[in-house]
Subunit: 266 residues, 2 copies
DNA sequence: GTTCGCGGTTCATTATTTGAACCATTGGTA
DNA sequence: TACCAATGGTTCAAATAATGAACCGCGAAC
């Protein structure tokens, strides 16, 4: 593993619940030597990716990140395109909606909205990357991903995250068939024991999957009626995002959706 | 210079006008060996900071950036707080308004809005970091910055950017006195020969400068009336941002503003 | 068909990263 | 007061990883 990767991985330890970390925290989380971690932190800070609170000496994410986001959004306006769709969906369904982009063999959350209409809320951490085999979004992506990515994930170890995580390659392939047939990735207690979720894949201009739009519901609150509601609403959201980004929805997927909910409005 | 810095510097070559770059571009811009650059690019891509267009093989900024922005914004909601202020100001003044954060001895642009009301427009590149001695925002920050930062900048070389860049330490100190007296950083043709600009510093909760709110106008269009208008409006914008972030405006600065425009509305 | 520029790769040389031990400061505790 | 346990940070020889000149294969242009 290169030095660059080691340094960048430090940035992954930040999360909504852990927005600032001390040197010791990084050492514990990364299992690396203190001196090494410290030099990496300093170098990241010198480049504006981190900044240090001079009083507490804790590190937090720096302004360079914002600058780069501005550049990316100027040319690939994902956030601004997706944000209204996610917000609308969250309002309609009344549950946590999130959008993630495929990044290598994982999913990288872009944004999420929780309407906060209920007492219990699904905890969603945008700093946490999502595994492809253990989330509804991941299954949705994987089912429509290029063969080599699918093969790579099937070959690799399938880490268990919760009681119902699919950890067997054969079972995973079967699950992906189901996803392709229905057009939705479904995952109950596969990533978190208390969460059930449904997701649909999103495609880019070249016809490849680029990410997924997902809805996460506390397991106790996930009824059949809610599943139907979600299945009816998700394709519309995906369509909005896809057209906005100039992508195209594969006909096979559109067919699957149509077959699943013949009464859904376009 | 460490490997991490070398890799991260590659990210700085992106800009609004250059949203995707090929290997050769990076090599030319960075003056480094092709093999080195290539490995850095690959490693950045592996971590989601870049992604490669499989057809053109060009690199663009990746989704990891978005994820990190989401985390930072969740705890330090700069963009979302500042965006409406910048938008309002841009509408009122009819010129390009931008907000930047202090990052080491430079300014890192966070966002900008150009109402696009005129034929000529100031070119503002959010990917470009701004020098402290050659921009109005920089002068505004520097004038109210801790002594050690000011000393560091005064000691370092003052690179010329345009015909009127202050390159002499003594002249710079004098300029900073003027800034402190008026409460505004003013810079005409110091960063770009065709641009005049005015900026005001923004302070954080600890009472230190954290950045600046600036307005850039094509030199030919910058009249005295416009300067007055800007001077009347800028303090309001700074106040909105400062209160939103829980900061406090130093009394000395508030006094300077009051003295400069006794007829300004609060 | 040759040449040019492109992205990408190789491998011996070299320079950078590494980490055990160390220092300084703080906050708690006997 | 003295002591201990954490904290963040630093040092320097040893080990490892980064480096870059030369090379490959490809597609476009002449």
């Amino acid at each position: 593993m290169g030095t660059i990767t080691k340094a960048l991985e430090l940035l992954n330890f930040f999360s909504r619940s852990r927005p600032a970390l001390g040197l010791g925290d990084f050492v514990r989380l990364s299992h690396r030597d203190k001196a090494t971690v410290h030099r990496h932190l300093v170098e990241l800070a010198e480049n504006g990716f981190l900044e240090q609170n001079p009083e507490t000496r804790a590190y937090r994410l720096g302004p360079a990140i914002l600058r780069l986001t501005a550049v990316r959004e100027a040319t690939m306006p994902m956030r601004s395109l997706v944000a209204p769709v996610v917000a609308d969906l969250a309002n309609e369904v009344g549950e946590l909606v999130h959008f993630s982009l495929l990044q290598g063999e994982q999913l990288s959350p872009v944004l999420h909205t929780d309407p906060g209409r209920h007492g219990t809320q699904v905890h969603f951490d945008e700093a946490e990357v999502l595994p492809l085999h253990a989330t509804s979004s991941g299954l949705a992506v994987l089912a429509f991903a290029p063969a080599d990515l699918r093969k790579a994930v099937l070959a690799g170890p399938l880490a268990p995250f919760a009681s119902h995580t699919i950890t067997d390659a054969a079972a995973l392939e079967q699950a992906l068939d189901t996803v392709r047939a229905s057009g939705f990735g479904v995952n109950d207690q596969g990533f978190d024991d208390e969460v059930a979720s449904v997701a649909a894949p999103v495609f880019g201009p070249d016809g490849n999957v680029i990410g997924a739009l997902g809805i996460a519901v506390p397991f106790a609150r996930m009824t059949e009626a809610k599943r139907t509601e979600i299945s009816n609403l998700l394709p519309g959201g995906v369509a909005r995002i896809t057209t906005a980004t100039g992508g195209t929805i594969p006909t096979a997927l559109a067919e699957a959706w149509k077959a699943a909910q013949p009464d859904a409005v376009s």
